[in-house]
């Protein structure tokens, strides 16, 4: 009987020991698991079952690639620009396959400099500079008024830019601070993904009277570019992807 009691006691002691160790070890682990950011862990990869991956995506099933094999940027996120440049995916433009096939993408023909320092002028000044960006020579027009040029592009077919599709026009945004590099806005990659209606005129108005001034503080708050960048597009902390260099 006594011996049996002793065995019981040691067993109890062991369980208490185990519980104690468990308690001690579990504190840092549970804290770690609570504070761990959701999207940063490498374990968090969405893996679709192969049968579904084949089903989803309408007609062009051959061009579907698993996102794990797409090129990544410095944050480990999918680098969509690189994906498009390398022609790795072929996302559908519309749910209607006939409509999707008929659409062709425009490339940038002109660059508009959008700056508070450039004074408005009544006429177009000649092209003064070409700068290679991404293998293409972009033409820069100086001394033009952003609002007026947009008016002419959209409303006048006789103007030199009248034939140009506004989709093919890129922008350079001059920052308020002189030390910061110019922000380059490529229109064509945005029109590749988006429709005009997604941004204009709700986020970026195009009328003279409603023009907005974009600032980084508001972008960080989730306005303007921040409506997509930082949420579904690349994060706004990746400064060098917009602020390329002083282009002018």
């Amino acid at each position: 009987m006594q011996r049996g009691n002793k065995v019981k006691n040691t067993a109890f002691r062991n369980t208490y020991k185990a519980l104690f160790f468990l308690f001690i070890f579990s504190i840092p682990l549970s804290v770690m698991s609570c504070t761990k950011p959701l999207a940063s862990s490498k374990k968090l990869v969405f893996t679709p079952p192969p049968a579904e991956a084949e089903l989803i995506g309408g007609k062009d099933k051959k061009n579907i690639i698993d996102q794990r094999f797409l090129p990544k940027d410095k944050y480990g996120l999918v680098d969509w620009k690189e994906v498009i440049n390398r022609n790795l995916i072929n996302p559908a433009s519309s749910l209607d396959p006939d409509e999707a096939a008929g659409k062709e993408e425009e490339t940038a023909d002109f660059v508009i400099i959008w700056s508070s320092t450039i004074k408005p002028s009544l006429s177009f000044s000649p092209i003064v500079k070409t700068i290679p960006i991404g293998g293409n020579n972009y033409k820069f027009e100086m001394g033009i008024d952003f609002q007026r040029i947009l008016e002419r592009i959209i409303f006048s077919k006789e103007s030199p830019l009248g034939k140009t599709n506004p989709k093919g026009i890129d922008f350079i945004l001059k920052p308020k601070v002189g030390l910061m590099a110019d922000a380059y806005f490529p229109h064509n990659i945005h029109t590749y993904w988006l429709d005009c209606k997604n941004c204009h005129p709700s986020i970026f108005p195009i009328k003279d009277s409603q023009l907005v001034r974009v600032s980084m503080t508001e972008i960080f708050k989730g306005e303007f570019c921040g409506k997509c960048h930082g949420k579904v597009a690349f994060p706004v902390t990746d400064c060098g992807r917009c602020h390329l260099e002083n282009l002018l």
């Binding site: 698991s33 959701l38 968090l44 969405f46 679709p48 996302p91 559908a92 590749y192 209606k197």
Partner: protein
């Protein structure tokens, strides 16, 4: 000889530790950057006994351009869309594709209702514990 009691205690401890570490990393948060948590109707989801919805945005982006869904089907703002299963079954919202013709039918709850409850809605990388 191996002490079986100690071994069993160790094993139990290990199992419990595994269970504890499991909670946020692997349980249901299989989200990626840009994926969206939809839990506006969390109360009714709990009533039925399903988890929050984790919408794999990146997965859809490989297959469709933004303009396909925005803004004709979905408004680009968290919480601005009134999505519920009735609407989906009628062929609106997700049901525009998830109808068995373009994509799979919305009959397997766990495929979408896969997000562990207790997080704020919106994109996964900005989600916080409630």
């Amino acid at each position: 000889m191996i002490d079986m009691k100690k071994l069993s205690h160790l094993l139990i401890l290990l199992f419990i530790l595994l269970f504890l570490t499991d909670n946020s990393a692997t349980a249901a948060t299989t989200g990626q950057y840009g994926d969206v948590i939809l839990n506006k109707n969390a109360a009714s989801m709990r009533e039925v006994g399903v988890k929050d919805v984790l919408f794999p945005h990146t997965f859809h982006r490989i297959r469709f351009k933004c303009k396909v869904c925005h803004n004709d089907i979905f408004v680009m703002k968290a919480g601005a869309n009134e999505i519920n299963m009735n609407v989906i079954m009628e062929g609106e919202m997700c049901g525009k594709c998830h109808n068995g013709i373009i994509a799979w039918e919305p009959i397997e709850c766990e495929k979408c209702h896969s997000m562990r409850p207790g997080y704020t809605g919106g994109v996964v990388q900005n989600a916080k514990r409630k």
